[in-house]
Amino acid sequence: MNKVFDRYSSVCFALVGALFVIESRNISTSAYGSEVGPNMFPMGLGIILIILSLRLFWESTRGKAEGSAATGGKSLQYKRFLTIFAATLLYVYLLELVGYVIMTFLFLFVSFKVMGSKSYFKTTLVSFAFSVGVYYVYVHLLQGTLPGFPVWLGF
């Protein structure tokens, strides 16, 4: 129970609700043969979301901040998380550009190391087996589509 998070998230959800309400005013209000248009459902939901957010905001201001001890007790490993998160984002963005096998190998190698794998040999072996194995089985045996090797490598 993190009251601060609750407060900010209630504001965010209220904004999301408001966005849907405002944007749904631009959608046509009737459909052919019906008095009920495609705008009504999202608009109604947006209004409900705003009301619920207000209630959450009210709940988060009431009550004491008793939850701070619960989350404060655990030490979070931000460095490890941010490295892997950044690696995942890079992986995802470069996947189509560099190709599946190379990117997956690099991503796995880096994150295995970050997560605390000791031996270089084992890390290389597992990441190699995973990336090549998945690519071979999926593309060659199951005839699926994955980004192959980049053209500029020359093969």
Binding site: M1, F5, D6, S9, F13, V16, G17, F20, E23, S24, I27, S28, A31, Y32, S34, E35, V36, G37, P38, M40, F41, P42, L45, G46, I48, L49, L52, R55, L56, E59, L76, Q77, Y78, F81, I84, F85, T88, L89, V92, Y93, L95, E96, Y100, T104, F107, L108, S111, F112, M115, G116, S117, F130, S131, V134, Y138, L142, Q143, G144, T145, L146
Partner: protein, 508 residues
């Protein structure tokens, strides 16, 4: 044709060698998913959904759907078997429905009766699973017939009931659960409106026209969310694993646990039928029941075998029971069944009353394969329980990044866009922050799956009534559903107001 004839046809489909293989892979992975802490049944099924989609891509639609469902359902009930293993050996539940098993299971393991506890859990799960299936076979037809009488107004109210039930029991704060439900429904409105063909909230981004892909969001929220959580919070401390001794339970153990297994099966099945009340709740209820029923309740918490047999049977029976509203009414009652429904919809198979007449292959093949799957699980879990206990020792530094890589592979294989991959990563981030602050994720997924259907039915009902909202109150069945929905939200509030503990269903 009679029900038994249909069932025989189902067995014919389930016994095809590739379906046997899929069922086997499903229950094997399911057991592993249950054993590994950090991946629950929900993320397991979500993770495998794209993989099965690519595995079955060569078959025709009907067969592909049957095979995929056989595999995914295998993961679902397999996880119910596997979850008990870590509860008993490590005192760490592999998933939330095995939380109660730790109370007596770990104590039994400490007394050197780990093998007996594990095998009783497996036997109990088997009996309960078969019981739930038999009930499913006989209830499916009458319930489908009943559901065929429903018009759009009744459907809308019934779905609302499902959503309210899941939100009412969904987490520590009902407000948060309701917010997640509404948020899920709102996300479902993005894309082309399938009644009028108008584009909504797409902002001319081509990827958004077909809506946010359910698969991407489910994998992101559950699988990646849990992975991020483990990366951030896990301190890599390893616990001492208790050795498994003799596996077969003694005659006394069997005698003591026969009645709890029977009670747990029946109780769990009915709890599973209710929307919102899933396996976790069933196992809690069963534990409380066994404690009340027992002549000497002080033995509980100190290694009473009844405390393992009852809850483990009832969580399995509940997962079988939860299939009934999904298959006959088309309404998932929990997060995992919502994901199964998403998988069905991916194959253009609409769960609901017509499932049994339109796609008998899928429906009866699935039911028959669950019989076979349960048998496989019993065979797997009794002699191989020591092997599965080894899975716990998989080094997390290899496991965690692999899950990310599997998620990325799975989503890319089905969607083939970078947009979905980016969405996946951000859903993972969102999933972590929301679930670590007690926002339950199951209602969001449920909202996302039910969103288009609930909207269609509402608009169809309103079209027939010329925009008059009282149609939902004047149809008697619809009124009853709405009443139940309201009660589901109000009763927990009243109980909380009186200061009573309300049992909630974390996960689903």
């Amino acid at each position: 044709m009679s029900t038994l004839q249909y069932l025989a046809d189902g067995f014919y489909i389930a016994m095809q060698w590739h379906n046997l293989l899929y069922a086997f892979i499903g229950v094997l992975i399911g057991t592993a998913v249950g054993v590994l802490p950090g991946i629950g049944p929900m993320s397991g099924v979500a993770l495998l959904m794209p993989v099965t989609a690519s595995l079955t891509s060569g078959m025709n639609a009907e067969q592909a759907a049957a095979s995929a469902l056989i595999l995914l359902a295998g993961v679902y009930y397999g996880a119910m078997y596997g979850g008990s293993t870590t509860s008993i050996l490590l005192n760490t539940p592999g998933e939330s429905s095995s939380v109660v098993t730790t109370l007596d299971g770990y104590q039994m393991a400490k007394q050197g009766r780990a093998g007996a506890a594990l095998s009783i859990a497996a036997i109990g799960s088997f009996v309960a699973g078969v019981f739930a299936l038999v009930a499913l076979v006989f209830l499916a037809q009458p319930l489908s017939d009943l559901a065929l009488e429903f018009g759009p107004a009744e459907y809308f109210s019934l779905m609302l009931l499902g959503l309210c039930a899941v939100s009412g029991l969904g987490g520590k704060s009902m407000t948060k659960a309701l917010i997640m439900t509404v948020f899920g429904l709102l996300l479902a409105t993005i894309g082309i409106d399938n009644v009028s063909g108008v584009a909504r909230f797409t902002y001319d981004i081509p990827y958004l026209y077909q809506g946010l892909e359910f698969l991407t969001i489910a994998v992101g929220l559950f699988a990646l969310g849990e992975v991020f959580k483990t990366i951030l919070e896990n301190d890599n401390s390893s616990k001492q694993l208790i050795k498994v001794g003799r596996i077969l339970p003694s005659a006394k153990d069997l005698k003591q646990s026969a009645a709890p297994i029977a009670r747990g099966s029946i109780l769990g099945f009915f709890v599973g039928l209710l929307p919102g009340a899933g396996a976790t709740l069933a196992s809690f209820f069963s534990y409380i029941l066994e404690k009340k029923w027992s002549k000497n309740p002080e033995r509980f918490g100190k290694g009473a075998i009844e405390g393992v047999a009852g809850p483990e049977s009832s969580n399995n029976a509940a997962s079988g029971g939860a299939m009934i509203p999904l298959l006959t009414l088309g309404i998932p009652g929990s997060g995992t069944t919502a994901i199964l429904m998403g998988a069905l919809l991916m194959y253009n198979v609409q769960p609901g009353p017509l499932l049994f007449t339109d796609h008998p292959q899928v429906a009866w093949g699935l039911i028959a394969s669950m019989f076979i799957g349960n048998l496989m699980l019993l065979a797997l879990n009794m002699p191989l329980v020591k092997v599965f206990a080894k899975i716990i020792e998989t080094p997390p530094h290899f496991l965690i990044p692999s899950i990310i890589a599997i998620s990325v592979f799975g989503v890319y294989a089905v969607q083939i866009t970078t947009f979905d991959l980016v969405l996946l990563v951000f859903c993972g981030l969102l999933g972590y922050f929301l679930s670590s602050n007690d926002f339950p994720l199951a209602p969001l997924v449920l909202g996302l799956v039910l969103g288009p259907m609930i909207e269609n039915n509402m608009r169809r009902a309103l079209t027939t009534s010329n925009g008059d909202f009282t149609i939902f109150l004047t149809k008697p069945l619809s009124l009853i559903f709405l009443g139940c929905a309201a009660l589901w939200l109000i009763i927990p509030l009243i109980l909380k107001g009186r200061g009573k503990e309300v049992v909630i269903n974390e996960e689903a």
